[in-house]
C-alpha cells in the first residue's frame, strides 16, 4: 500500500475517522492496529519479525533501567543492539558479505547467496529502536512501560517504512501530552500531504522516467549533456521522491496530533557539502552524528581523528543505504568532500557566502552532489565510472530533460527560494483563506494533470 495510491488514502481516512471517533483510551490501539495493518499489507510474514524485535528492545530497555550495575546495563544494551544489528545485518548485508566471501574463495559470486526478501523499512525502524536503547542506556530517556506504547513508537505507520527517524523523546512528548490538532495544524497537515503527493507524482515520477531511460541504457546516450541531464534527472527524482514521502508522513502525523521534525530543508540550495548535509535527510544525519560520530570522538581529539570519524560516519551512512560498494563509495565521496571543506576552512563552508557568490557556490555544490548520485544510481561500479567519464567528456549533444519539465523545475526553484526566504508554507496556513484555498486547488490540479497516476511508482527509499 503505497502512499500515492487511492487505497492508502482510503486507509488514512478510515484510520482518522476511527481514531477521532474512539474514546481516548482506545486510540493507541486503533493506531497500533492501523500501523500493523499497513505493514502487513506489504508482506504479512514480516509482522512477527517486527513484533519480536519490538519485544526484545522493549524488554532490554526495561531491564537496563531496572539494574544498577553498569556491566549488566551494558549487557542489556548489547543484547538489544545485537538483535537489531543482527536482523539488519542478516536481511540487508548477508548476500553482500556472502558474495565477497565467495569471491575470496574463488567461487561464483552467488555461491553462498540466499533468497532473502528485505523487510520493509527495516533500516529505519532498527535505527529508531537503537537510538531508543542508547538513550535509555545514557539515561536520557525513561524506558517505556507500556508495550503498546512502545510498539506504536516503532510501528507508527506514517514513518514506519521510510522515516523520518524519530527519537523516542520527540515521539513520546507528543504522545503523552497529546492534544488534538488545532485548525492551523490540520490545514498544515493537509497542505504537507498534498505538497508531498505533488512532489512524488508530478515531479519525482516524471524525472524517474528520464533517469531510468538514461541509466538503463547508457550506451544510447553518450556525451556530457545527456550524462548531466540524466544524472540531474535522478537528483531531482530522489529529492522529490524522498522529500515528497517525508512531507506526506509529516502531514499525516500532524493530522493525528504528532509533530515530526523536518527531514529536508531545500538541500539543492546548499552552498557547500557541509550545508547540504544540514539540509538532506536531516533525521539520518542527526542520528549518525549523535550515535556514531560523537561516540567515535567527534572533533574532540585533534584533526586527524576528526577526519577519520567523519569518513567512518559517512562510509557507514553510505552502507546504511544498501549493501553495495557503490553506496560505500558514495558515502566515502561525501566523507572526503566534508573533510576537504574542513581542511579549507570550516567557517567558510558553514556560513552563507555573499549573496552574489551564493548562486555560484550553490551550483558547484549541486554539481558535486550530482557526481555522488552517479554511484547511488548506477547499477555497477563500471557503469558509475562510465557515467562520470561521460559527464566530463565535453562532447555530445542532446539534453534529456524536456523543456516543459525544465519549466516545472524552474517553478520549483522559485517556490524553494521563496520558502527559503519567506517560509511561505507556514505563512499560507496563517494567511488569508483564499491563498490557502488557491494553493490546495493548484496542487490537486497538478497531480491530476501532470502526476504519474496510471501506475503507482514505489518510493525510492522504500528499498532501504
Amino acid at each position: 500500500m503505497l502512499f500515492n495510491t487511492p487505497q492508502f488514502f482510503l486507509f488514512l481516512l478510515v484510520t482518522l475517522a476511527l481514531f477521532y471517533a474512539s474514546p481516548k483510551r482506545a486510540r493507541r490501539w486503533i493506531l497500533l492496529a492501523a500501523s500493523y495493518f499497513f505493514y502487513m499489507s506489504w508482506n504479512w510474514r514480516f509482522a512477527p519479525l517486527l513484533l519480536s524485535l519490538t519485544a526484545v528492545d522493549y524488554a532490554a530497555a526495561i531491564w537496563m533501567e531496572r539494574v544498577e550495575s553498569p556491566h549488566r546495563r551494558k549487557l542489556f544494551l548489547v543484547i538489544g543492539l545485537a538483535a537489531n544489528l543482527g536482523f539488519l545485518g542478516f536481511f540487508k548485508y548477508f548476500n553482500f558479505l556472502a558474495g565477497m566471501l565467495a569471491q575470496v574463495l574463488g567461487k561464483d559470486a552467488h555461491a553462498f547467496a540466499l533468497a532473502i526478501i528485505l523487510p520493509l523499512g527495516i533500516s529505519f525502524h532498527t535505527f529508531q529502536s537503537m537510538s531508543y536503547l542508547v538513550d535509555v542506556y545514557r539515561r536520557e530517556q525513561k524506558a517505556i512501560r507500556s508495550p503498546v506504547d512502545y510498539a506504536l513508537f516503532i510501528a507508527f505507520f506514517p514513518q514506519l517504512v521510510a522515516g523520518p527517524i524519530v527519537r523516542a523523546r520527540e515521539f513520546f512528548t507528543n504522545y503523552y501530552k497529546w492534544i488534538p490538532p488545532v485548525s492551523e495544524e490540520t490545514l498544515r497537515g493537509v497542505l504537507w500531504i498534498l505538497l508531498g503527493l505533488t512532489k512524488k507524482t508530478a515531479l519525482a515520477d516524471q524525472f524517474a522516467q528520464i533517469a531510468d531511460s538514461y541509466f538503463q541504457n547508457l550506451a544510447a546516450h553518450p556525451g556530457a549533456p545527456a550524462a548531466w541531464s540524466g544524472v540531474g534527472a535522478f537528483a531531482m527524482q530522489i529529492f522529490f521522491d524522498f522529500s515528497g514521502y517525508t512531507d506526506m508522513a509529516i502531514g499525516m502525523a500532524l493530522l493525528l496530533g504528532f509533530h515530526f521534525p523536518a527531514n529536508f530543508r531545500r538541500p539543492y540550495l546548499a552552498f557547500s557539502i557541509t550545508d547540504f548535509w544540514h539540509r538532506w535527510h536531516i533525521s539520518l544525519s542527526r542520528w549518525l552524528r549523535d550515535y556514531l560520530y560523537i561516540p567515535l570522538g567527534g572533533n574532540r581529539h585533534g584533526a586527524l581523528r576528526t577526519y577519520r570519524n567523519l569518513m567512518l560516519t559517512m562510509l557507514l551512512g553510505g552502507l546504511w543505504h544498501g549493501a553495495s560498494w557503490n553506496f560505500v563509495i558514495w558515502g566515502g565521496y561525501h566523507g572526503a568532500l566534508l573533510g576537504l571543506e574542513r581542511v579549507f576552512g570550516r567557517k567558510h563552508f558553514q556560513e552563507p557566502p555573499h549573496w552574489l557568490a551564493y548562486p555560484f557556490r550553490a551550483a558547484i555544490t549541486f554539481a558535486l552532489v550530482c557526481v555522488g548520485w552517479v554511484f547511488f544510481r548506477a547499477a555497477t561500479l563500471h557503469d558509475s565510472v562510465y557515467v562520470i567519464q561521460q559527464m566530463f567528456s565535453w562532447h555530445g549533444k542532446g539534453i534529456l530533460i524536456p523543456a516543459w519539465l525544465g519549466v516545472l523545475l524552474a517553478i520549483s526553484l522559485v517556490v524553494a527560494l521563496m520558502e527559503e526566504k519567506f517560509e511561505w508554507i507556514d505563512r499560507l496556513v496563517r494567511g488569508p483563506a483564499w491563498a490557502y484555498v488557491a494553493a490546495i486547488a493548484m496542487l490537486l490540479f497538478s497531480v491530476e494533470l501532470i502526476g504519474v497516476t496510471e501506475t503507482a511508482v514505489p518510493f525510492v527509499y522504500f528499498q532501504f
Binding site: V429, I440, L449
Partner: protein
C-alpha cells in the same frame, strides 16, 4: 482560519477549476487532432458544423467504415440524400452511443444512421471490446457526470471500472498525455489545433484513400501460407498472416452481450424517432478466410432487425469488393475500393429509404 470550511472551500475550488477547464469546451478546443480524443472531437465538430441541406444520412463505425461522403454525395441528385460520417478508427458501439448522443441530441436529425459492423454473427475477436479502455480516451470529452455509473460499470474488470469512473470525474487524468504534448510545444500545438478547426473538414471530406493494393500476395489456404511479393512491407505481411491464419478466439458470448447492450441502447434512442437504423456488414478483406464464423440467428444485429425501424443490408452485399486489388492492407479498402464502397452505400440506402419525403 477554521479547518473544515477552508478545506471544503479548497476542494470546491479544485472541482470548480477542474470543471471549468475539462468539463466545458475549453480544453477540448486545444486537443491535438492526432490524439484519440482530439480526433473524435474533430470528427464530431465537423459533423455539427457541416451545413445540412436536405435529408441527411450519417455513417458511424471504425476505420473500416470508409464511406467517403465526397463520393456518396456526388450521387445526391440521384439518391436525394446527403451523407456525413463520424466513423472513427478504433471506435466500437460503446463509443458510438455517446458520439451519436451528442451529434444527434434530438435523435431526429437524420433520415438514417448507418452502423457498420464486422459481422452479423457477433463473432468473437481477440480484441475484447467490452473491456477496451480506449473508449474512455475516445469519448472522455463527451462523457457527463450522469454517465459515471453506466459507463464505468460497462467494464467487467474492476480496475478498469475504477479508472473509467475517476476518468469521468477528473478528466485531466485522461488528458494527461495530451497535456504533456501541449507543454512540449505549446505554440505550435495551439496553431495546429486552430488549423484543424479551420481546415479539418477538408481533410476528412477531401480524403481520397491510398492507391496501394495487396494484389501481389498469394494465399494457400490448405498449406496456410502467404506468398508475399518482393519488397513487401514486413508489417503488412505480419498483419495479413495474423488476419488470415490466426486461430479464432473461443466463443464466450462476451462479444454478443456487449453488442446487444450498446446497440440496444442506440436503438432505444431512436425507437420512437423517424430515423431508420441501417446495419451493414463491412467488406471482410482482400482475402476472405474459408472458416467463417457459424450463422448466429440470435446475434445482436439479427435480433434488432425484428424492430420496425431497423434494416439490415444483405450481409453479402459488399462481397464484390472483397478483392486484393481493392484493399491496401489486411483490413482496409484502398482509394478505388472506398469509392466503390461509397457509391454502393449511397445507392443501397436510397433504395431502402425510398425517395425523400
Amino acid at each position: 482560519m477554521r479547518a473544515a470550511p477552508v478545506l471544503l472551500a479548497s476542494f470546491a475550488a479544485f472541482a470548480a477549476l477542474d470543471g471549468a477547464v475539462f468539463h466545458t469546451s475549453l480544453y477540448p478546443w486545444i486537443l491535438s487532432p492526432d490524439g484519440s480524443t482530439g480526433r473524435v472531437e474533430m470528427v464530431l465538430r465537423n459533423e455539427r458544423e457541416r451545413p445540412k441541406d436536405g435529408p441527411q444520412v450519417l455513417g458511424i463505425g471504425d476505420s473500416r467504415m470508409i464511406m467517403l461522403p465526397r463520393v456518396a454525395n456526388e450521387h445526391t441528385a440521384e439518391t436525394g440524400y446527403t451523407f456525413g460520417t463520424i466513423a472513427t478508427p478504433g471506435a466500437s458501439p460503446r463509443s458510438w452511443y455517446y458520439m451519436l448522443r451528442d451529434t444527434d441530441p434530438t435523435a431526429r436529425s437524420y433520415r438514417a444512421i448507418l452502423l457498420a459492423v464486422e459481422s452479423y454473427d457477433d463473432a468473437e475477436i481477440w480484441d475484447d471490446d467490452a473491456d477496451n479502455e480506449r473508449d474512455l480516451s475516445y469519448i472522455v470529452a463527451r462523457l457527463r457526470l450522469g454517465d459515471l455509473w453506466e459507463f464505468s460499470h460497462s467494464y467487467d474488470d474492476w480496475s478498469k471500472r475504477w479508472r473509467a469512473a475517476r476518468g469521468i470525474l477528473l478528466k485531466g487524468l485522461v488528458y494527461k498525455r495530451d497535456f504533456e504534448d501541449l507543454l512540449l510545444h505549446p505554440i505550435s500545438r495551439i496553431r495546429y489545433a486552430q488549423l484543424a478547426h479551420r481546415d479539418s473538414f477538408g481533410w476528412l471530406y477531401g480524403y481520397h484513400g491510398p492507391p496501394d493494393t495487396v494484389s501481389g500476395f498469394q494465399v494457400d489456404w490448405r498449406a496456410r501460407t502467404l506468398a508475399a511479393p518482393p519488397n513487401a512491407n514486413p508489417d503488412l505481411v505480419d498483419g495479413l498472416k495474423g488476419r488470415l491464419f490466426s486461430a479464432p478466439p473461443p466463443e464466450s458470448g462476451r462479444k454478443s452481450r456487449y453488442m446487444k447492450y450498446w446497440l440496444g441502447k442506440i436503438y432505444d434512442r431512436y425507437r420512437d424517432s423517424p430515423t431508420r437504423l441501417i446495419f451493414l456488414r463491412l467488406p471482410r478483406g482482400g482475402f476472405v478466410r474459408p472458416d467463417q464464423p457459424p450463422y448466429n440467428p440470435h446475434s445482436s444485429v439479427r435480433e434488432l432487425a425484428a424492430h420496425p425501424n431497423i434494416t439490415l443490408i444483405d450481409e453479402h452485399f459488399f462481397d464484390s469488393l472483397e478483392k486484393p486489388e481493392l484493399f491496401h492492407d489486411q483490413l482496409h479498402l484502398n482509394g478505388p475500393g472506398m469509392d466503390r464502397f461509397s457509391v454502393m452505400i449511397a445507392q443501397e440506402v436510397a433504395r431502402i429509404l425510398g425517395p425523400p419525403r
